[in-house]
């Protein structure tokens, strides 16, 4: 205790004020968006600060569901998250396992290539990929949304670091018991690194769910748009038509759509905080 007080003084009130102020700045816009989406449209414009739970209404949501193909967008996003996420979750730990635990010729070269692709900025691939998609006739298809980037270098690198910490004796014990190579991975490695797999799962889900740049380029018909693309189309309609617009109703729909899009990730985050933080931290290892 004496040591602790030497190195770490009790935080003063000013420090709490600073942190609390920052926390309010960070959380208030989310709260404001969700609470405003539940207000009657004219109130959003007239009294942006007030919120009385008593007058909460789903009016904006009803109007938004009527005007915006958000259901289609949501289903498309779910499909992409599930299939693309499954590809990542199956093949990235498996490749990470091979790099962590096997010595094979060409290992260093292959791993070097993997690390190089990590440095490739996403944006440089956008136009090349779009060209390729149009060559293949894949513009406006699910495979265009799912396949590019589905097995990513970063997740492999991360899983390799995680699996490297699994003791070799454990794997050898499995071999002695006659397990096949894939069996060792599935029945010994995966259970041991379950927290890492969970963190990979939540981070992958979040990244694919929030992804915007590639979906907005790869898809331009309504039936394949992901949720984020639907939202951006709505936003552009709103900013494009200011003259004579009924701001209350238009913004009400905008905020309702945004709130619906935020809810799944926010819930996931609140329920699985620890995995999120582990996932974010894993990202700093590559530096």
């Amino acid at each position: 205790m004496k040591h602790k007080s030497l190195s770490q003084p009790r935080p003063g009130p000013l420090q709490y004020v600073f942190l609390a102020g920052l926390a309010v700045l960070f959380v208030y816009p989310i709260w404001w968006a969700i609470s405003s989406s539940l207000k009657p449209p004219n109130e959003i414009v007239r009294a942006p600060l007030s919120f009385s739970p008593g007058s909460a209404t789903l009016h904006n949501y009803q109007a938004m569901f009527h005007d915006v193909p958000i259901g289609t967008g949501f289903l498309n996003t779910v499909l992409v998250v599930v299939v693309k996420g499954a590809l990542t979750m199956c093949f990235c730990p498996l490749a990470g396992y091979a790099f962590a635990k096997y010595r094979f010729p060409g290992r260093h070269l292959l791993f070097g290539v993997l690390m190089l692709t990590l440095m490739l900025p996403t944006l440089v691939l956008i136009i090349p990929l779009l060209l390729q998609m149009s060559q293949l006739g894949w513009v406006n298809t699910y495979q265009a949304l799912i396949l590019p980037g589905s097995i990513d270098a970063f997740s492999i690198f991360w899983m390799r670091q995680t699996i490297a910490a699994v003791p070799d004796e454990l794997l050898d014990a499995g071999r002695v018991d006659g397990a096949g190579e894939f069996g060792i991975f599935a029945r010994i490695v995966v259970p041991v690194i379950r927290p890492g797999i969970a963190a990979l799962g939540v981070l992958t889900t979040m990244n694919i769910y929030n992804d915007f740049v590639w979906p907005v380029v790869a898809v331009n018909d309504e039936s394949h748009q992901t949720l984020q693309v639907v939202l951006s189309t709505l936003a552009q309609n709103v900013t494009g038509n200011r003259i004579g617009a009924d701001f209350g109703s238009v913004w009400g729909e905008l905020l309702a759509a945004g709130s619906i899009a935020m809810l799944p990730v926010l819930l996931l985050f609140i329920l699985l905080q620890r995995h999120f933080i582990n996932g974010i931290l894993a990202g700093s290892v590559k530096g």
Binding site: Q8, L22, W32, R107, L114, P128, A153, I280, S284
Partner: protein, 309 residues
Amino acid sequence: MTPATLTPPRNEEHTAPAPLRTRRRRLFLTPYVFVAPFYVVFAAFGLYPLVFALQLSFTNWKGAGEARFIGLDNYTYLLTSPEFWASLGNSAVMWLLIVPVQIVGGLAAAVLLANARLRLRGMFRVAFIAPFVTPLVAMAQVWIVVFDSDYGLVNHLLRLVGLPGVDWLTSTTWAKPTLALLFLWKTTGFAIIILLAGLQAVPSDVYEAAALDGASRRRQFWSLTLPLVRRSIAFLVVVQTLAVFQMFAEPFVVTQGGPYGSTTTGGLYLYNHITASDLGTGAANSFLLVLLVFALSLLSVRLLRSRDE
């Protein structure tokens, strides 16, 4: 090998090593099979389009019809185009508005959070990361509403305290800072988490020794804390430099690059070639942007590397 006094080993343990080796030889291919999916996907949707695009950057292809080889014309066109340089200039201003603020503010918050005697730490951490997990497009929509000149929340607040409203998104002076604020709001929690992890990796007895030697808190920060989190800072600067120069969704959704092109970032300018079907130029622009981003990350790694490394 096994001392006779121990229970005799089971039969498999004697025979296991030999089949293990033969099986290893037989399963020579296993690791290649395990890593193959990544290389297949990368070759198909990374390497191939890159090579194809490099080739296209030397043509005048418009997305349809015949592609004619025009040498370096796309590159010289861009390098002499005021619009191209303006997009890089816009990104550079964004960088200045974002990265220093984020590092200093993030470090301040992380140092406070690292204090073991802080109460409510978990709550603060959740509050700081919440923006990072929310979808950017959804928050960009909120920015449109909150920063509206006529009916937005921020101008409403300004008027309440008797100040005039500001054209946050429709004036060339304020559009960039307002978008920079969205970026800061969204990603500073990430910076705090990274810096906090760096700080917590510093063993506490280092501070105790310094305190015993009579080093002031301020002195401890400058000569102990800062050098020890330099790696985390360098990592953040590289990642955020990449992100700022590729910034796309913020201006795309909120301002569409306006007013008067003042928020057309490097990323958005690149995208505009797609809408203009000017794909050869777009491909050339991709490669120029990547060269720039690489150079900037190398430079920041150099500058932030400590003198003794």
